[in-house]
């Protein structure tokens, strides 16, 4: 198998892989909102409420967070 052929396979499978990832990501975004794990839209408030004294939208580091935030 020469390099051109290898390149062809690599390109093909990597593209498929990334496309699957992208669609999986869309599913992930909506599913985790539906299950109440996450509310993505609240992150939009980071820009609106950005005084240094305002309460962060998320103030715990990722490692200490339990992924069951309650949506209102």
């Amino acid at each position: 198998m020469d390099i051109r052929e290898l390149q062809g396979y690599a390109s093909f499978f990597m593209t498929i892989f990334l496309v699957v990832m992208l669609y999986w990501y869309i599913v992930h975004l909506y599913r985790s909102e539906k299950r109440g794990e996450r509310d993505y839209e609240k992150y939009g408030n980071i820009a609106l409420d950005d005084e240094i004294t305002s309460t962060p939208v998320e103030d715990k580091p990722a490692s200490q967070r339990d992924y069951t935030e309650k949506n209102k």
Partner: protein, 222 residues
């Protein structure tokens, strides 16, 4: 969950972005490198004088208005000559294809323009056609071309990239001093077809005017 730490952890995020953006380069560019680097049969590297001319071409940034790439269309091959081949550029560092034709393509200009034509044209483009919007490059008739740098470039590409220059091309100053008369001799051959007195005077003093080097380069574009 995989996506959660990707969104929160700057390090993983940065790695993910790097992988995604370098993918295209890896697939598109890297594997083709050895293929595209192969010169066509009989391709000779440019002489030191022509290299110095190429550097004048770069210094005055001729490629902002002139391309060196003939595309495979009848209209282009009729106008400029045979379409360009990858192997013809194998020794061009950098490539000088340009991206805009405010003036015509120059990839084969050596086939249909002469030293005399270039001399008139570079001195005053409007003398060739009064509708020309190209500026005159009179300073090239008095500026001295940097042939020593051109020599250093030839030696560098010979050592680093195996460009086929002869064994007399060495990194030492002595080798350069030995090669210098050859460059002056080449320049005098070009100047023999020119009428500008200042150019001839400079050459007699052992200095190569930029215009001579540039014309040597343009004549080599075939």
């Amino acid at each position: 969950m995989f996506f959660h730490w990707l969104e929160k952890n700057p390090f993983f995020f940065a790695s993910a972005v790097s992988i995604v953006i370098s993918f295209a380069g890896l697939i598109e560019i890297v594997p083709n490198f050895s293929q595209a680097a192969r010169p066509i049969a009989g391709l000779k590297p440019r002489t030191v004088l022509q290299l110095a001319g190429k550097n004048v071409y770069m210094k005055d940034n001729c490629m902002s208005c002139h391309s060196q790439l003939i595309r495979p269309f009848k209209a282009e091959t009729d106008r400029y000559g045979e379409y360009s081949l990858s192997g013809e550029y194998a020794f061009d560092r950098p490539f000088l294809w340009g991206s805009k034709r405010t003036g015509p393509d120059l990839h084969r200009v050596g086939n249909y323009r002469t030293t005399d034509w270039h001399e008139n044209h570079m001195w005053n483009p409007k003398s060739v056609d009064e509708r020309s919007i190209m500026p005159a490059y009179k300073h090239q008739f008095t500026n001295v071309a940097d042939i020593e740098t051109a020599y250093a470039e030839a030696v560098t590409v010979k050592n680093a990239f195996h460009t086929p220059y002869g064994p007399e091309f060495k990194t030492t100053r002595a080798a350069w001093e030995a090669h210098r008369p050859k460059v002056i001799e080449d320049a005098k051959k070009i100047a023999a077809d020119m009428k500008n007195e200042g150019v001839k005077k400079m050459l007699a003093e052992g200095k190569v005017p930029e215009i001579v080097a540039l014309i040597a380069y343009l004549n080599s574009l075939k």
